[in-house]
Amino acid sequence: MNKVVNGADEAIRDIQDGMTLMLGGFGLCGLPENCIAALVKKGTKQLTCISNNAGVDDFGIGLMLKQRQVKKMISSYVGENAEFERQLLSGELEVELLPQGTLATRCMAAGYGMPAIFTPAGVGTEVAEGKEVRNFNGKDYLMEMAFDADFAIVKAWKGDTMGNLVYRSTARNFNPAMAMAGKITIAEVEELVQPGELDPDHIHTPGIYVHRIFQGVNYEKRIEQRTVRSREQG
């Protein structure tokens, strides 16, 4: 069960124009930086990207947007990106905005083998347009379908050669739910270890969900909003 590939280029080798990708991360935290760089280099186009955010102008998915590789974004929040805004307003880019919990749970549903979920988020709003509404115990819920993604690309802290993954702090975010949801799941990790080095009780994503794994290089881990307090404030 060795899932190891040589690096990002090999991991994404068969991602084709027009495919649907899930990309883990929240803001710039927990992003699969190596695979994004490899996709930019490969120049794959007409991609549909499912990701909570769209990066900033010069980092994250923003790098793919700059190369016009993205046809459609499915996200919950897409601010902080001028090129994104330009493409959206000019009609070059299609955007589907979804509540953040709906986005996460549609990933989860795919990983759990469930075709759809019911959520109250968006009932009575424009998010509900064209969606089936069901009433359970006196409350309305929207039916939201499980995502169907060709590839899920996630970033973990540690992983073993069998694809078992451990995430670190809030860099976990969308990564576990997406890892479970791809037809093919690619995991890049900061530290690749041998089977047995990770405590089975501490594994967040079991390797059965992961098809390819590699140790990434040169993680920038850019901070989007650097907020600090002074020592005097205590």
Partner: protein, 218 residues
């Protein structure tokens, strides 16, 4: 009249010992600074953290430890990390006791609009729609009127909705209001130096005033 800090301090009084609380971006974030020290309160950040601590000391920022506003933060003893699906699971399952968020408009039946202005750049709803659809206890922190001087407490929202019939309480620079189940903003307290008349003039929706209205005590 209250300033932003005053609004945050007044809302902090709504927090009870043992609460799990989700704070939105803006004035709600300030509420964390005024939770009484003798209270055991856990802050939930919907990107996947329970037990959000203060900003880190300079030089101790960790890019893997951020809040829902993408700001660097710290964790506390007893903090727990989880993924985005579970985060909204606990919100949907009503495990979070209190949600405090900002708004552009609130209607007298408790509808809220806070994510989209047609014709302007749309950034998205983030977690706001999930929070307002599931939370049983929602307090809105906002300015009473917009920059054009128009009331944000309306008979009906004019902007695209974030959620329907969900807001229970509003704190503005002018006062504290309950949103009644049968409709209407019931004035509970007025800000220091603000008259009931001034609040009436700034409120486009149905305002209900019963008896003497006390001043806010912070």
């Amino acid at each position: 009249m209250l300033d932003k800090t005053g609004i945050a301090k007044r809302i902090a009084k709504e927090i009870k010992d043992g609460y799990y609380v989700n704070l939105g971006i803006g004035i709600p974030t300030l509420v964390a600074n005024y939770i009484p020290e003798n209270m055991d309160v856990v802050l939930q950040s919907e990107n996947g953290l329970l037990g959000m601590g203060p900003f880190p000391f300079e030089g101790e920022e960790d890019p893997d430890v951020i809040n829902a506003g993408k700001q660097t933060i710290t964790m506390l003893p007893g903090s727990a990390i989880f993924d985005s699906a579970m985060s909204f699971g606990m919100i949907r399952a009503k495990k979070v006791n209190l949600t405090i968020l900002g708004a552009m408009e609130v209607s007298e039946n408790g509808d809220i609009a806070n994510w989209k202005i047609p014709g302007k750049m749309v950034k998205g709803m983030g977690g706001a729609m999930d929070l307002v659809a599931s939370a049983e206890n929602i307090i809105v922190a906002m300015q009473h009127v917009n920059k054009a001087g128009e009331s944000k407490l309306l008979p009906n929202c004019t902007l695209p909705l974030t959620g329907v019939k969900c807001v229970k309480k509003i704190v503005t620079e002018l006062g504290v209001f309950d949103v009644l189940p049968e409709g209407g903003f019931k004035l509970l307290e007025r800000a220091p130096g603000v008259s009931v008349e001034e609040i009436k003039n700034a409120t486009a929706g149905k305002l209900i005033v019963e008896g003497e209205i006390p001043e806010i005590v912070i």
